[in-house]
Chain length 326, copies 2
Amino acid sequence: MVLLTALVVLGQAHAQTDPLPSWNEGSAKQAILDFVRVTTDKAGPKFVPSEARIATFDNDGTLWVEQPIYTQVTFAIDRVVALAPTHPEWKEQAPFKAILSRDRAAMAKFTLQDIEKIVAVTHSGMTVEAFAGIVKEWVAGATHPRFKRPYTELVYQPMLEVMKYLRDNGYRTYIVTGGGQEFVRVIAEPVYGVPPEQVIGSAGQTKYGYGKDGNSTLVKVPKVLLIDDKAGKPEAINFIIGRRPYAAFGNSTGDQQMLEWTQAGDGARLMVLVHHDDATRECAYGAMSKIGAFPDALMAEAKKRGWVVISMKNDWKKVFAFDGHH
Amino acid sequence: MVLLTALVVLGQAHAQTDPLPSWNEGSAKQAILDFVRVTTDKAGPKFVPSEARIATFDNDGTLWVEQPIYTQVTFAIDRVVALAPTHPEWKEQAPFKAILSRDRAAMAKFTLQDIEKIVAVTHSGMTVEAFAGIVKEWVAGATHPRFKRPYTELVYQPMLEVMKYLRDNGYRTYIVTGGGQEFVRVIAEPVYGVPPEQVIGSAGQTKYGYGKDGNSTLVKVPKVLLIDDKAGKPEAINFIIGRRPYAAFGNSTGDQQMLEWTQAGDGARLMVLVHHDDATRECAYGAMSKIGAFPDALMAEAKKRGWVVISMKNDWKKVFAFDGHH
């Protein structure tokens, strides 16, 4: 009984001293622990008051899987298929024809205009509540083609630990995604514990009006309000939060400006990139990857600026919560 | 001594039971107290969980004085005067000429294009940090022409009490202003206790770039990002917060849609309009007031929809903190 108690106490002590159990010991893990220690040490020179503790996270490729294609693109494709019976003209109309005939070669050549057309028909014309309902239902039913699991399970366990660790230390965790704000809001609360007002993303406009019952409505319209990518990320962070982050996490050139802007603040700042170099458990992108590009230039930039680069392969004990018990 | 103690205890008890001491008893005060009671009563049918407790406040005319002209317009005029020495051409150039020659008749006829020109030269071309510094300095030095006090003292004491009362009961108080977001953020924290990320306002775009030191910068550019007025208010609230408010406070037709959208939610909702009917202590606008219009149609709407209308004259014991000790 004494031994058992001792073991329980030891177990608890270990849990308390390792907030990042899915991480291997190494410079990436240490940088995160050090950052939190110095910014929460009230007596230290790098203390950050709690109201200023902001950490921003890219979503696709930083918090969840973005390969072989962005989850939201899969959603849009599935929506085109679901809506096709009420749009018989799509059978002969680009870009819908390519989707409906499963013409992967044509889909691979989609232009920005094609994608805009697909986003317009799948992401507008309904109230904001109706859209959230459609996303929720899709997320509940969809599975990833390779992992054969819901997309909401394809989140990186080590990153969930970082988010929780930061929140436990008074940081507010924001998602700053190039993906659609209203799409990501649906999954952010249940999956990441991030509330809607802490999700910043690319967004379309809405139009205020009145429904049949006379009650007011907000309907999604096919006009861009902001694109939250590259330079758009620091611009949107300043617009929506009005504070500079102390920590920023990304995985691609789309996140570079967010990390630069974070670093340009004074005191301790933490800039982190997730490097996808684990073909076995997830993906090894390579410099030429079509999405989530991590070119040599970004790696050079990270080295020059002293950013932390996470090697999925070496820094993470597990990638997903289900790793090790398939 | 016993009597003194008794008086102190009584005084404390009274302070605890009256969170709105600057309010006269009446239906407006009672509606606010009732709303907070039912939405925070865990056992009641109208309980609102703390994460959903959002209250939105218009600024000009709802939280601080907006007469004879919006404070931010005074700021812009003062900035034109301050910048004039480096722009000698303005002496002969509309609309600047009217400001520099103090031609009030010409200024009263300013068109939207004139105002856009003034906003462009006074609200862009500098980093976001530089702009905040300019506003801070101006606010510290400027005084209101009638009240001869800093603008930051011309806030309605009863509304400060409502904001604090809501926050004490787990509500997050947001400012949702037609005024400039970055202008209002400067005063919102010290004056209202509202942090920058809870200030939503009309906003211009910023442009990400690099300064001479190679560090990244955000420079304000003269392009509109959003106009946070009328239908723009619920649209911006949905965009930035992603939640529908449970309480909304305004004072003009610019706030009507925000109140309608608040009311269209289920459960208990509180919609409040401040009616400026106190010419002695502040202003009596009348239906034809140029700014902050409260036309008969808005009063009729408020009655039809059961919105609370605050009479400054009858509902407020004092308007400003300094009332009673001039």
